[in-house]
């Protein structure tokens, strides 16, 4: 089944759906930065406390992500091979910029995810983070985030990556429904709306955090 064109597109949709779910949960969790250090650090500690769930989720995400990237690249190569000689002139009629740049936006997101993991999860970009503790003795995630996003270069890279994520999702969300055939005249307007609203909400939510820290709206309690 997963050797067929339609089977692999369905797999692309299903893995993408799982990743989208994670992106939404991740954003909601992170928005606790607006509730202050205590809320965010307690949330981080709670996640670390649920080792089975945490590692289960990490493993699932890794598999979904790897499958999604692998399929994306494999399908792209096959699709190029299906037209060995291109047109001298070719005019697109209705494919959006998002549709035509899925591989590019996908690769940007891949690069960003690697950077993001190195930055906050493995503290490889700014290694001093690994040592920081808050007054309650928990890892001080809040101070780490605030310190990270006070750096305009890092904030800019996060914002740009989120814009690419939004572009990717603008094509991806309606595509998910198309690829598994979940379309119906009654629900198509809803699918179109979701295709705009979901990327907008995710980009707005994710971009608001680094920007409000960079501009000193959030995180004033953290020194230095």
């Amino acid at each position: 089944m997963f050797r067929s064109s339609i089977g692999r597109k369905a797999l692309m949709a299903v893995t993408g759906f799982g990743l989208l779910g994670y992106v939404i949960v991740h954003m909601i969790g992170n928005l606790q930065v607006y509730q202050g250090p205590d809320a965010l650090n307690a949330y981080a500690k709670m996640l670390k406390g649920m080792a089975t769930l945490l590692w289960g989720a990490r493993l699932t995400l890794l598999v979904l992500f790897a499958a999604h990237v692998y399929l994306g690249v494999a399908l792209y190569r096959e699709n190029r091979a299906a037209r060995p000689i291109g047109y001298v002139r070719f005019q697109y009629e209705q494919a959006s910029v998002a549709t035509r740049t899925m591989l590019l936006s996908g690769l940007v997101i891949l690069a960003f995810v690697i950077f993001h993991l190195l930055h906050f999860t493995f503290a490889a970009v700014q290694p001093e983070y690994a040592e920081w503790k808050d007054p309650a003795g928990r890892p001080d995630v809040y101070a780490m985030v605030v310190h990270g996003f006070r750096n305009p270069v890092i904030t800019t890279s996060y914002v740009v990556a989120q814009l690419f994520l939004g572009l990717h999702l603008y094509h991806a969300v309606p595509s998910m429904f198309q690829s598994v055939g979940l379309k119906h005249p009654r629900y198509n307007p809803l699918i179109r709306t979701l295709g705009v609203v979901i990327p907008l909400v995710i980009v707005a939510g994710n971009v608001s955090m680094p920007l409000s820290i960079l501009f000193g709206i959030v995180g004033t309690s953290v020194g230095g």
Partner: protein
Amino acid sequence: MRVTLHVWRQKNARSEGKLVTYQVPQVDPDMSFLEMLDVLNEELVGKGEEPIAFDYDCREGICGTCSLVINGRPHGPEGGAATCQVYMRNFHDGDEIYIEPWRARAFPLIKDLVVDRSAFDRVIQAGGFVSVNTGGTPDGNTLPIAKTTQEKAMDAAACIGCGACVAACPNASAMLFVAAKVSHLGLLPQGQPERARRARKMVAQMDAEGFGNCSNYFECEAACPKEISVEFIAWMNRDYLKARLTEPDTVTPGMGAKVGPSPVAGHDATAKKHPVA
């Protein structure tokens, strides 16, 4: 009016092709695009040159034989029309017009602007039919079909198999063609007995022919001279996935041996309820 043409010329499948420029000085705006090429060809023959090879048959937009990518658009600038329905009044005096063949690995070039579209025939042979046992003609109105269902099936059946969807798709995917064929039969009661097998076999053959995958560009829909909707691709995706998830893996591309009891159109015990539009 006067136009400048840049036409893809290629002697045969093995030789190198290139764009060759021709001037057509006396074009009547009421000529069809193909008549304009006929005029140019007569001139070429008169000069002892090889005329431009291009496909056509009915010249009234119903046979699906004509092709041509005109200025980067399959079937040219007119939406919802085949190349034979494009007129020179769609262009302006002094226009430069690029004419290229359908480009796809699954449509090998034969000569100039003519490509071999028999891959489509093999996809149809794999499952684009209903098996009807011989016998008396069924009485009229014995198979009630809802009007909405009829119309939807007819929208899909409008496909003339020209291949513009493949030509327009950046992936050279044949999904719109196969979707139209799978769903125009799959929507009707006569198509139910073979519905799952049809979806599986036609998709397997489509993949075997070397067409690309669907990336939901929807350029096919824009190029289709019969304006067939990409909703049918979603319909086929669902039909195919359902067929794969509910039946064991036994189908191979091509005709193959029939599995299970011989179906009788519309009257088979396994025929499902009428599909909902």
